[in-house]
């Protein structure tokens, strides 16, 4: 019987939530790596039992884990992330040059074809790849060295590479996003990169339409339309129909176009989801009402989805990697909050219920659809 496994990274450990295809009753396993920050866990699309996890701590640095049995047991793998060559500098908050320093892994993206290959997006922003199941890591330094790297600067959360998308029809084409440098694309498997930020407008930077410097929070795509990208920027929800060459705003009637997450329905490439957050200085939903917004038209026309979500006194945030969808016939949508709730909707957002209410602050949510 089909089912789902929800991989939840929190400030104090990882949790694995499992259910059958009805998605009504849930088993909760965890905390795994209790007391450690788990920025992200993600399973291999070709071997769902292979899961990678980023475990970190202000005291003990970065640890990498992998499971070969769906998260029942874990094995510590390599944590040596060494920048290629002389790392050089990027801009610091005050505009002065600052040496590149590895801090943590924000996002893991397993290969679409090989369970032993996985990409890691790290802070300070760079892209690493392992082809031996996480034992060793090598930087794809063409990204950092393509020309604008020395002008990248951190956002409030640090200078993190947080989004990695692999085109399922052409694995040499990948997209990544960095806060606060912007979005970038490679056509040759990561050797060379170009910024893809034309059309973004960020009033809070010196040149609002600069080639780089935009605080992109998240990018997503549907596998059937890999040239169509959706972006939640610091402010503005954006869309590109040409693989990122040009972007246009699709915020439309959203109550606020600030937010972090964005995702696409598993079966409807023009149905997208965001969680509007009041502002960058308030980081909670407008009016204390937690609402997912859904557009069935690829943006601009949005409807509020509130059935089952708190509509009073709710002041949580939903962080950039904390929304995911399953691919069951009725698409399930999931998101986690900084208040420790993980909400699930088994009917594409029409009805919501919490799977768990009292976890540590949720950093990331991923879903595996199991056969």
């Amino acid at each position: 019987m089909s089912g789902v496994r929800v991989l939840v990274g929190t400030r104090k450990g990882a949790f694995i939530l499992t259910s059958d295809g009805k998605r009504q009753k849930w088993d909760v396993s965890g905390p795994h790596f209790g007391g450690w920050e788990i920025y992200h866990l993600k399973g291999s699309p070709v071997d769902p039992n292979r899961i990678y996890a980023s475990q970190s701590s202000g005291w003990f640095g970065q640890v990498m884990q992998r499971s070969s049995d769906g998260g029942k047991t874990w094995e510590t793998v390599g944590n040596k992330f060494e920048y290629d060559g002389v790392p050089g500098t990027h801009q610091w908050y005050d505009g002065t040059p600052h040496p590149w320093e590895f801090k943590r892994v924000w996002h893991l993206e397993p290969s679409l074809t090989d369970p032993e290959t996985v990409y890691a997006g790290v802070e300070d922003a760079a892209l690493f790849r392992s082809t031996d199941g996480g034992q060793t890591w090598n930087e794809l330094s063409g990204l950092r060295r393509h020309g604008t790297g020395s002008s990248w600067a951190p956002g409030a959360g640090g200078m993190c590479l947080h989004t990695i998308l692999i085109d399922p029809t052409n694995h040499d084409r990948m997209y990544i996003a960095i806060s606060s440098a912007g979005a970038f694309r490679t056509e040759d498997g990561g050797k060379s990169w170009k910024p893809i930020n034309q059309g973004l407008k960020s009033e809070y930077i010196p040149d609002p339409t600069a080639e780089v410097g935009h605080c992109v929070h998240r990018i997503t795509m549907h596998p059937l339309k890999p040239g169509v990208l959706f972006m939640q920027k610091h402010w503005d929800v954006m869309r590109s129909d040409d693989a990122g060459d040009k972007w246009h705003e699709v915020s439309g009637n959203l109550p606020t176009d600030f937010g972090f997450v964005i995702d696409v329905h598993a079966h409807e490439p023009e149905t997208i989801y965001v969680v509007p957050i009041k502002s960058d200085s308030e980081h909670y939903p407008p009016d204390g009402k937690l609402r997912v917004y859904r557009s069935r038209t690829g943006g601009n026309d949005w409807e509020a989805l509130a059935n089952g979500l708190p509509q009073k006194d709710c002041y949580v945030n939903v962080l950039r990697d904390a929304m995911a969808v399953d691919s069951l016939d009725s698409c399930g949508v999931y998101f986690g909050t900084t208040g420790g709730q993980v909400y699930a909707s088994p009917d594409a957002g029409d009805h919501w219920a919490p799977i768990v209410r009292d976890l540590p602050a949720v950093v990331s949510v991923e879903v595996q659809t199991l056969a």
Partner: protein
């Protein structure tokens, strides 16, 4: 070859799958560096957790205590106190106390 006693912070005990004090054989002179080297050989999962895996600099929020002294700022190659070498006192690796 001296055998010394080492106390690890709880999170590193979990990561290394070891509990309580660790008894560690040290080749040559017993220094901070020798202790960290021996720990990382005995418990490979601890590599990078006590010192940066590239620069080998001590993680800033880790402290080294022994014989009622804070040895954190000592050179990595300074010999550890005789009671540590004789295993009458443990070498303690402590995660700095922080939070609220």
């Amino acid at each position: 070859m001296p055998t010394i006693r080492v106390v690890l912070p709880q999170h590193l005990q979990t990561l290394a799958k070891t509990y309580g004090e660790v008894r560690l054989d040290i080749e040559g002179e017993v220094t901070h560096r020798a202790v960290l080297d021996a720990l990382e050989i005995r418990f490979p999962t601890l590599r990078g957790t006590m010192r940066d895996p590239i620069t080998l600099r001590r993680r800033p929020l880790l402290r080294f205590f022994a014989c009622e002294r804070d040895l954190t700022s000592e050179s990595l190659d300074t010999p550890l106190p005789a009671p540590v070498v004789a295993a009458t006192e443990p070498f303690c690796i402590i995660g700095a106390i922080a939070g609220g």
